[in-house]
Symmetry: C2
Subunit: 337 residues, 2 copies
């Protein structure tokens, strides 16, 4: 066991797209767990779009990370020392342990992970926050019905690729939108989406989307926002449901973007746009884990991970994810099990 | 009884704000009812914001009025001749009779009006389409809870002035937005809203709205759209409901307006924007008429009408309503009962 804990702290509030220099690698002694605490050795770190909002000081749903603080984030790790009656050394756990090699925890918000069920990294993906985001966002807010057309933006990303597959399992016609031909090939050929459209170049995007959705759009699961979403809204059907999960096209803008006003479209289509945070379903995660684990086991849910190694690469992984460099889930592997 | 029926037809598709020359007054012989038909003598015509969309050939939820056709619209009238077993001369009826002094009907979509319950003009307002719009839009889509802050735009208009009063009856704090000090005075002093803000001049509007809503905004009932709605969205609370009923600021634009993108705000507030057309509640109108009639009888629901006389003035009434000249419901009185 190493003697020092390597951590990534927030060094500056990013303007626009974060830079590696907005973060700092620091070392500090590995802490000892106090009464009721346990020490976790990090195995995988997650980098996710929501983190962009949490390092900005614009008003949001939660306090931002302070300058000099360890960067927040979900991680999966192994309990290595424990003074907590419910967590024993050797157990695998998932929680908000932050971007660091070792973390202390009092067990609040920590979930045990069964390493026999699936690779432990899935606790950060299919069986973790992005998986629950896809599951509850699509099914509870989108309420897709068999035969309906579901469109998902950011289709090759962590959440989008699950949304499309769950919609297929529910009998829908699924069209994915992504930013490269390679990503489109992935969602159509590997994940089984019915169609996929590269939103670049923008000039042809609207027409291609119309051709890919001959029956209009009943459910839109939005990870991206901006002009991609504008095009979708022009094609929605009566009583369409727009599930607003993310707006990654907007997170790094230095000033608020303007776009066409379309609320009148919600009126004439009697349609609904609803934003959500996965935490609103926190008391129902078990209900979501069960079918997702079952589909994983049966091979009905495919997933890809893009993995960088070493805690020092967490900023690079995060910045790459914001630029859409990953297919599937972007993770940082910190240590071997 | 006159020998000729005076009608208003659509003469041209308006560009921007309609002009009186987009309509034409024509005369034709009063028709005779055929088998299963009856003849209605119009008493009051309604002019409503939705009609702007129905004379445009942009795609919408229904076919537009054709050039040369009698302008569509709700009206209340008296049955004067009948070959229909369920409608007898002397009965008062409400239906889509159009802008004309006499109309034939086969009874489809026609509702009998009890003139003892309230003045017959209320069949076009509190106990008609605008009343049902306010009632079901606010209660079924907005779902206001006692103590919540409800903001309504177009507050002195037909729908807005009812929405605010219903919200007060449900125990909410109500703030109205309108375009003149006289309208604000009306909704606060006569209708009992807790607050009111003139959105002109725009420079001070945002700050005044914030002051008028110290606990944020839980329900927004939108009749107007545009920059008024932008300001509201900056102040919504967690789990806010935005009821999108009308966008009158946008209806006469010659090109689509652009505005700040705010879908990210729906995410961080876990909020919902939902558009509706009153017709989706058509099978529940009875359920809405009962409490509205009761509140009227008890004096708990106040209403104002702005009435022009003569079918020839329907275009002027319509254009004035689109420009916000009316307080309460804009009507055209065509004949005495």
């Amino acid at each position: 066991m190493a003697l020092m804990d390597r951590q990534i702290t927030l060094a500056a509030r990013p303007e626009g797209l974060p830079k590696e220099s907005d973060f700092r690698l620091v070392e500090s002694p590995i802490p000892e767990p106090g009464g009721g605490q346990f020490l976790v050795r990090t195995l995988y770190l997650s980098v996710d779009p929501y983190m962009r909002g949490r390092i900005s000081d614009a008003p949001s749903y939660a306090e931002p990370v302070k300058l000099g603080e360890v960067m927040l984030g979900g991680a999966v790790g192994e309990v290595v020392k424990s003074n907590h009656p419910q967590f024993a050394p050797g157990e695998i756990v998932e929680g908000m342990f932050g971007w660091q090699e070792y973390a202390l925890s009092d067990g609040k918000g920590v979930r045990k992970v069964d390493p026999k069920l699936a690779p432990v990294s899935t606790a950060l993906y299919v069986l973790g926050m992005p998986g629950m985001t896809a599951y509850f966002g699509l099914l509870e807010i989108g309420k897709p019905q068999p035969g309906e057309t579901v469109v998902v933006s950011g289709a090759a990303g962590a959440v989008g690729s699950l949304v499309g597959q769950i919609a297929k399992l529910k009998g829908c016609r699924v069209v994915g939108i992504a930013g490269s031909d390679q990503k489109i090939q992935h969602v159509v050929e590997e994940l089984g989406f019915d169609g996929g459209i590269n939103y670049k170049p923008p000039a042809q995007f609207h027409e291609k989307l119309r051709e890919a959705c001959p029956n209009g759009i009943d459910v839109y699961f939005d990870n991206v926002g901006g002009s991609v979403t504008d095009a979708v809204i022009g094609l929605i059907n009566t009583r369409a449901r727009l599930v607003i999960c993310g707006q990654v096209s907007q997170y790094n803008l230095k000033r608020l973007e303007r776009g066409p006003r379309w609320l009148w479209q919600l009126i004439i289509k009697q349609a609904r746009a609803e934003g959500f945070l996965v935490y609103q379903f926190a008391d129902r995660y078990e209900e979501g884990h069960r079918p997702m684990a079952q589909w994983l086991k049966e091979g009905k849910l495919k997933y890809r991970e893009t993995i960088l190694a070493g805690v020092e690469n967490a900023p690079r992984a995060f910045i790459g994810m914001l630029q859409g460099e990953n297919v599937g889930k972007m993770l940082v592997k910190v240590a071997d099990l």
